[in-house]
């Protein structure tokens, strides 16, 4: 018998083991640690954490609030997103790409920036309202400091999320189904009601579930709008508890974060159950349906759609920009008072701000670079290995992103509160714990496009390299990396953009010296320095926009759907 049998499997083993170890470390360990804290704090089984959490009225009030804003925020997002998707996909409105770019933009902007922008727009100090002379008197309450405000902004923030999923579903709708209905004598609205919408149920339901999870897990919007009104949802309650009590209340926080995790999972399960009830599979694949001709309605509909953009994107950003130019709270803005002092202060004068920019840049860049490097081998296993357990691997990577950010933040705190075993290294209260959480949370953002990239490559390309004698690592380097790099890099860019002004995770994990841009914005706003917060926000929005344009350069080499704002 030959001695060469089973040779050369070493690299495959090494890669699988490293990938599995990383995923255990980033996804599975923190979740297990969180569950342990609830059922067995300190290593002994106890229901104390659960019962103390369950008997606390604040818990129930916050849970109720979470459900209210989650439910209505989702409803608003679904109505907005689905209507826009129907109009953009099925009718002959013009200027589609530009509209999609603008409509999806809020998704690329951090929620707290959205919140800040809207606050600047409607508050008594609003430079815009002051210019128009319709500002409420100083000292009066901003109407957005309310549950309705939170719901409105959640709907604006996550409408695009619904839009993207429903639009993807509509694009798969075969034209024959629509044409058959029209040939049977159905008018456009009848077709919409009896054919299109029923077939879109799975997309809409999936989108609703995702929007729900995002709404209940959102921290930025209820933090900026709810805390001043003392309207607490679970993520903000956790933040307040930790801010007030420190590590001593971690057990409490763990309970709350599992509660919010359960609510999010309930949303996902409800979607699973609803989509199982009927078979909506669409069998044929064909061209998309001919767009419906709006005729004389085209111009009014276009005007309406752009009014929506003005309302949800341009006005708030404009408000943000104006606020960042105002020298102080409540001072009206005109040519004489406009100033760049706010920018100069946050960029050059305030030490913590410089640190925050540096931290956020380094953190986002490291998280993005790491995710790209890890996503390529992980996606290789997920897309090509064909092994059954790989499905769970993928699921494990999805988990830290699917669950609300506070869940992961609390889990990371629990894991690293004490020094890392065997090494004695303490990463709690350093920037490293934030990096860990970013790596765990955002890995999936690079993984998804990379998997899509693999599915576009003919596997024969790798097999050809194999028979040419190339080992796994050589193939990875010379064949696979060059081919999936654009998709993975686009994923990396998405991570960089998301992490740059991230708040949810860093609000719970930061310490003096490891501030992030998001934390800085939050503390300026809480301290009443909205102008500084606006200046920082304006800078991050600009960076985001530049990065989006940069990513567009990659678009020709990418699987469709990787860049959400590309039509």
């Amino acid at each position: 018998m030959s001695v060469r049998l089973n040779q050369g499997r070493g690299q495959e083993w090494a890669m699988t083991v490293v990938v599995a170890a990383l995923i255990v470390l980033l996804s599975i360990l923190p979740m297990l640690r969180l569950i342990q804290e609830i059922f067995a704090p300190g290593g002994t089984l106890s229901t104390a954490a659960i019962s103390s959490g369950l008997t606390n009225t604040t818990t129930w009030v916050a849970t109720g609030n979470t459900l209210v804003v989650g439910f209505f925020g989702t409803a608003l997002a679904v109505i907005l997103g689905t209507s826009v998707a129907l109009l953009v996909t099925l009718t002959d409105v013009r200027g589609r790409s530009a509209f999609v770019l603008c409509y999806v933009m809020p998704l690329m902007i951090a929620p707290q920036v959205t919140a800040l922008a809207w606050l600047q727009l409607f508050g008594p100090a609003s430079p815009l309202l002051k210019m128009l002379g319709i500002a409420p008197p100083l000292g009066s309450r901003n109407p957005l400091y309310s549950p309705e405000g939170i719901i409105l902004l959640l709907g604006v923030q996550y409408g695009p999320l619904v839009f993207l999923l429903v639009r993807a579903g509509l694009r798969k709708l075969p034209r024959e189904l629509v044409e058959a209905a029209r040939a049977s004598g159905a008018g456009w609205f009848t077709v919409l009601r009896t054919i299109v919408l029923p077939l879109m149920t799975p997309s809409v339901v999936a989108a609703a579930a995702l929007a729900f999870v995002s709404c209940v897990g959102n921290f930025g919007i209820p933090a900026f709008l709810g805390i001043p009104a003392n309207y607490l949802v679970l993520p903000t309650l956790i933040y307040q508890r930790l801010a007030g009590g420190g590590p001593a209340v971690l057990g409490d926080a763990a309970f709350l974060s599992v509660l919010i995790g359960l609510i999010a999972m309930a949303g996902i399960l409800a979607q699973e159950m609803m989509s199982r009830r009927r078979d909506y599979r669409i069998s044929s694949t064909s061209l998309a349906a001919e767009p419906y001709e709006l005729g004389k309605w085209r111009v009014p509909v276009q005007v309406m759609m752009w009014c929506l953009i003005v309302l949800i994107l341009i006005l708030p950003l404009f408000g943000l920009l104006l606020s960042s130019l105002v020298p102080g709270y409540g001072i009206p803005l005109n040519a004489a008072t406009a100033t760049l002092d706010n920018y100069r202060f946050v960029l050059f004068e305030y030490g913590a701000a410089r640190r925050a920019f540096l931290n956020s840049f380094v953190l986002s860049f490291s998280a993005a670079a790491f995710a790209v490097l890890v996503a390529i081998p992980v996606a290789y296993l997920v897309a090509w290995s064909g092994k059954k357990w790989v499905k769970y691997l993928n699921l494990a990577v999805e988990l830290p992103y699917a669950l609300p950010g506070v869940v992961l933040a609390i889990a990371s705190l629990l894991m690293f509160l004490k020094p890392i075993p065997f090494t004695g290294v303490q990463i709690y209260n350093t920037v490293w714990i934030i990096l860990y959480a970013y790596l765990a949370r955002f890995l999936v953002l690079a993984l998804r496009p990379t998997i899509a990239g693999y599915h576009q490559i003919d596997r024969a390309l790798e097999e050809a390299a194999r028979v040419a004698g190339a080992s796994l690592f050589t193939r990875m380097r010379t064949i696979i990396f060059p081919l999936v790099a654009p998709a993975a890099l686009a994923g990396g860019l998405l991570i960089f953009m998301t992490a740059l002004s991230e708040l949810t995770v860093s609000a719970l994990l930061w310490s003096s010296g490891s501030e992030t841009i998001g934390v800085l914005m939050f503390s300026f706003e809480q301290g009443g320095d909205s102008n500084y917060a606006s200046a920082i926000s304006a800078i991050t929005v600009t960076i985001t926009f530049v990065l989006m344009l940069l990513a567009n350069q990659l678009a020709a080499h990418l699987p469709s759907g990787v860049l959400p704002w590309r039509d």
């Binding site: 030959s2 049998l5 097999e463 050809a464 194999r466 004698g469 081919l483």
Partner: protein, 358 residues
């Protein structure tokens, strides 16, 4: 160069036998075609030989080395086989020369030697001067030739072709067939050529292995496959053979035997050891059937279909004796037969399909 021995190989996916008890011995320098309808297991067989899949039982040897057994296998990168893929599988991010030189680079051949060998390989497939092009800028035939050169340059012991002509248009196919034949002649490489196109297999191969449902149905030279199919599947698969129940009337004599087919007595070819038996079947082909006049003896039936093919018409006849058998033959112009008409045909010859035990 090396021979290939596939010894009693079975490959099971779940509870499905993709390849079952297949044994094939490919001689050093032989051109073997593996032919079969889609889903017959021929692609799995190729992947087993290449090492992308491992055998469930049996073993595979290349030259003198065992490369696959149920216990383990030599991975593809260590087998020194070349593959020409159906869709070429050229790396889009490399130039033609980089594609061809890849295996040498991986083997750390020095740049000077590499350059020379790549040039040689390109000259061999008539691509001199194309080294700096990208695969995207080549025609289908040129890509195919790059794929050939790429597998040639490593001097593999065995070259596998995976339906290499399936993606080309008809005109190019004939040209590429010539190219493959020339390639084989020039290099003397052992070739295993997977295809579902019998004309291709017949034109190129020294021997053809016909596969059916994961099993080897017959392994024979093209002419033997056509004239002496070993079983019903091969008989009907190759060149649309017609399988007709027959009664054997006498023992074989000098390779021929007398049978009764659809009420007519016919002398057909057979194996030398045939004797009268029940349930026999013969295979005959369109050229062995022709129209007979009403005064001649023949088989009467009704014309089911008459399709004009240009110069000839293909006539399908349901004989009265057994309407479930469709006899088809070609009738030169002018064609007197219409669908529904009565006709009489004569079977000139055929082949007695060996019994299952034979």
């Amino acid at each position: 160069m090396a021979g290939l021995t596939i010894n009693d190989v079975t490959k099971t996916f779940g509870d499905f036998d993709a390849v079952k008890d297949v044994s094939i011995d490919v001689r050093d320098g032989e051109f073997l075609a593996v032919l079969g309808p889609s889903g017959c297991g021929k692609t799995t067989l190729l992947r087993l030989v290449a090492g992308f899949e491992n055998v469930t039982s049996g073993d595979i040897r290349i030259g003198n080395e065992v490369v696959s057994t149920a216990e383990g296998c030599v991975p593809p990168e260590k087998r020194r086989v070349g593959i020409v893929f159906q869709n070429y599988a050229l790396w889009p991010h490399m130039t033609v020369a980089e594609n061809i030189g890849y295996s040498l680079k991986v083997a750390k051949v020095d740049a000077e030697t590499r350059k020379r060998r790549v040039e040689d390989a390109m000259a061999l497939v008539d691509l001199t001067g194309f080294g700096d092009r990208r695969p995207a800028n080549l025609s289908g035939g040129q890509r195919q030739r790059v794929a050939l050169a790429r597998c040639l340059v490593a001097a593999p012991s065995l070259v596998l072709f995976d339906e290499p002509l399936a993606n080309l248009d008809v005109h190019l196919r004939a040209a590429m067939e010539d190219e493959f034949a020339a390639f084989h002649k020039r290099t003397g490489t052992t070739i295993v050529y997977i295809t579902h196109d019998q004309a291709e297999a017949m034109a190129l191969a020294d021997r053809i292995a016909v596969m059916d449902n994961g099993r080897l149905a017959q392994l024979a030279a093209p002419r033997d496959l056509y004239r002496e199919p070993a079983n019903e599947m091969v008989a009907s698969f190759i060149s649309e053979g017609i399988v007709i129940p027959a009664q054997v009337l006498s023992p074989a004599e000098g390779g021929h035997i007398k049978v009764s087919v659809l009420g007519q007595e016919v002398v057909v070819r057979c194996r030398p050891d045939e004797a009268p038996r029940a349930g026999a079947k013969i295979c005959c082909r369109a050229p062995e059937i022709s129209a007979a006049t009403s005064s001649e003896p023949g088989i009467d039936g009704t014309v089911r279909r008459a399709v004009y093919k240009g110069g000839v018409a293909r006539i399908e006849l349901a004989p009265d004796a057994d309407p479930s058998v469709l006899l088809h033959f070609e009738q030169p112009d002018p064609n007197p037969f219409e669908a529904g008409a009565r006709a009489r045909v004569r079977i000139a010859s055929g082949w007695l399909i060996p019994g299952a035990a034979a």
